[in-house]
Symmetry: C3
Subunit: 160 residues, 3 copies
């Protein structure tokens, strides 16, 4: 990493981070997923409509790694829900140097598969994230997923 620049190695390291993120989430390896965030992190899932108007209301909003851990505990233990599979595709990265590390924008689609049903488009939009370089590699400081639909899926359980 060279301050204020994005090298080829940086680009590939960033794509590696997203691939690890996607793999951990889609395969339900939630501890691996948590490891990709620094302690003092934020995660938001917000509709495009609210985001564009600067409204704070989010479908999911976590303001520390502890809150992410709570969500995972909820998924595993307390949240009553019908399980479903998620499959992410993230592409078309725009990387810009930022304080500490990088800002990264990308487009994503998540395909959902419920038990005994066909796969379908579940959530799509773009992410606007901030990464930081740590001794263990790149990590998420902030992740904001801005989804296109105004409809709030009535059972969004797992992070995007």
């Amino acid at each position: 990493m060279i301050a204020g620049r994005v090298t080829i190695e940086d680009r590939l390291a960033i794509e590696d981070l997203y691939a690890a993120y996607v793999s951990a989430l889609d395969e339900r390896r939630y501890d691996d997923w948590l490891d990709l965030f620094v302690e003092d992190c934020t995660y938001r899932l917000v509709s495009r409509e609210n985001y564009d108007r600067g409204l704070a209301l989010s479908l999911l909003s976590f303001e520390s790694k502890g809150m992410l851990q709570d969500r995972i505990f909820g998924i595993r233990e307390t949240l009553f829900h019908e399980p479903y599979y998620q499959r992410h595709l993230i592409a078309n990265f725009i990387v810009t140097p930022d304080v500490g590390a990088f800002s990264v924008q990308a487009n994503y689609v998540v395909i959902r598969t419920k038990s005994g049903q066909l796969s379908e488009v579940y959530n799509t939009g773009r992410s606007r994230d901030r990464l930081v370089s740590t001794p263990g590699g790149l990590r998420y400081v902030e992740r904001v997923c801005v989804f296109d639909s105004e409809l709030i899926p009535n059972s969004l359980i797992y992070p995007i």
Copy 2:
């Protein structure tokens, strides 16, 4: 850029161009989108069936940057339509050296989200584009999107 070769830097610059294209279009920054084309450009959106048979009939066909500007003017001012969101994912690039710069093929999917509705697959296919190197960076000389469906969506308003 080295004539007749595709360097790693070229590859990343090409992916950057597509990411900028996708971001501008999906976020409706149409002036930014227009900037990615040279003056003497062509843009076509054509069904796979017609394309494979060499038929000229296209769903959209623009033969200069002026015609692209007209379309944007239409989108903003004159075309009566129900707005919808588009979300592109473009992947699996095949880059070959070409006169002036590069030919690029890629697969794409566009997810559409209408107001108050769920997101759905809208248009999918491959693009076959020609890029040229300019002082401002890579630009589109020709963009041809070949979509798989024979159905012509009755309200395709925005470029793909």
Copy 3:
């Protein structure tokens, strides 16, 4: 290629292989598709449910290039089926060095378009492949596509 390491050139060569795979399959250039496998190869398409439980039952299972050729012969000559178009997007690659060459995991979605119908999500999941370096470039030794849906599409004809 450097034993035990994944260089930038390797990464791009791997992405090139997948782009060639996708292009050959989606454009029905099946001979080009076959050329991407070594003689002694395996191909499996298996549900996530069976894969996770270590069950051998696969929707498609081919244990040599000859069996892949048989399938292509079937597609062209003997399998009675209504043709449909496929469109792959493969993204978020995780590459690890392996004996001989590389292990590659990636997420994929295939969009299907039937004649006179709209495009729709057809099959999604992840692939877990092994590649080997040959004088002609990287080739597939093993390709395993693990799809998320428990439903078996009743007319899966073409490889994924």
